[in-house]
Symmetry: C2
Subunit: 142 residues, 2 copies
DNA sequence: GATGTTTATGCAACATTGTTGCAATTTTAT
DNA sequence: ATAAAATTGCAACAATGTTGCATAAACATC
């Protein structure tokens, strides 16, 4: 791993008041390496099974709590996580961007440059958060 | 069950070329009774455990294949199904409406009257389907 | 650096959810 | 009423997620 990247990861953990551990560094490294969303099984594969399953679950939950990653909705039982690029904190997490799932390669990524549109709901509904997942074919698979 | 409703369900199954069985009728009845989305566990509870788990899985998959129900994306491991009110067939299923998840009562429902907005993606991406899930507080919980 | 305290990890055991093969039953068509 | 086709229930298995607790690692302080 590049020293530069390692420094970035350490800063990220410090700013969330988390201690620096091998598991957390490795998982963040995997997030930065992949430009898409990851699910639990990916971490077991990509990390070479060097970490316990339970540790991975707990690490992801911690990152969620701290606003370091966010979940992406899916229509199956998998839970997908993506790293938050910006504007997310421990107490105010919002995805202001669209998620895209490619039907060809199966990857899911955040389209940071594509804003969530305003949805006008029927009378009586209060919206707190809006999730948009677009599926189709990505740039690379065309 | 009302004879009228039963007749409706039988028609629905017939038009999808499915045979009329107790499980299928019961599950459709539960869909019509609830005005929100249901997940697998709900069927086990609501049906009074009268059906085998496997049968429920297979029935839901059959309904999906036939376009009778659709899935709603979630950020956890649950898989939520809602009955299609309109314009869905076996080979062209589209949700043209927004889904709403209430943070208070936990129910998920289809907002048939709220259209999915047009999302303009970055160059190179082809969109086939757009899912929108809004979370917040519903009419009943305010 | 060494030391004690706090925090994170790994293991075991368990709970939940989903899948597959096959025999028995039910539905449908004749 | 009967035969063929489809569905169901059971058993066994696979995958995924959770909890308690002892061990190990990280951190703050000296």
């Amino acid at each position: 791993m590049l020293a530069k990247q390692k420094e970035l990861i350490v800063q990220l953990l410090r700013s969330s008041k988390l201690s620096i551990t091998d598991t957390r560094v490795k998982i963040l490294e995997l997030f930065l390496k992949s430009n898409g969303a990851l699910e639990h099984a990916d971490f077991e594969k990509l990390s070479g099974k060097s970490f316990d399953r339970v540790t991975i679950y707990r690490t992801l939950q911690t990152f969620l709590d701290k606003g370091i990653v966010h979940k992406i909705p899916t229509t199956d039982t998998s839970v997908r996580y993506a790293i938050c690029k910006s504007d997310c904190g421990e107490h105010d997490h919002h995805d202001h961007h669209v998620h895209f799932r490619c039907e060809e390669c199966g990857s899911t990524r955040c389209l940071e440059e594509t804003d969530i549109p305003v949805i006008s709901l029927p009378k009586g509904y209060d919206a707190h958060n809006v999730e948009v997942v677009v599926s189709g074919v990505c740039k690379e698979c065309k």
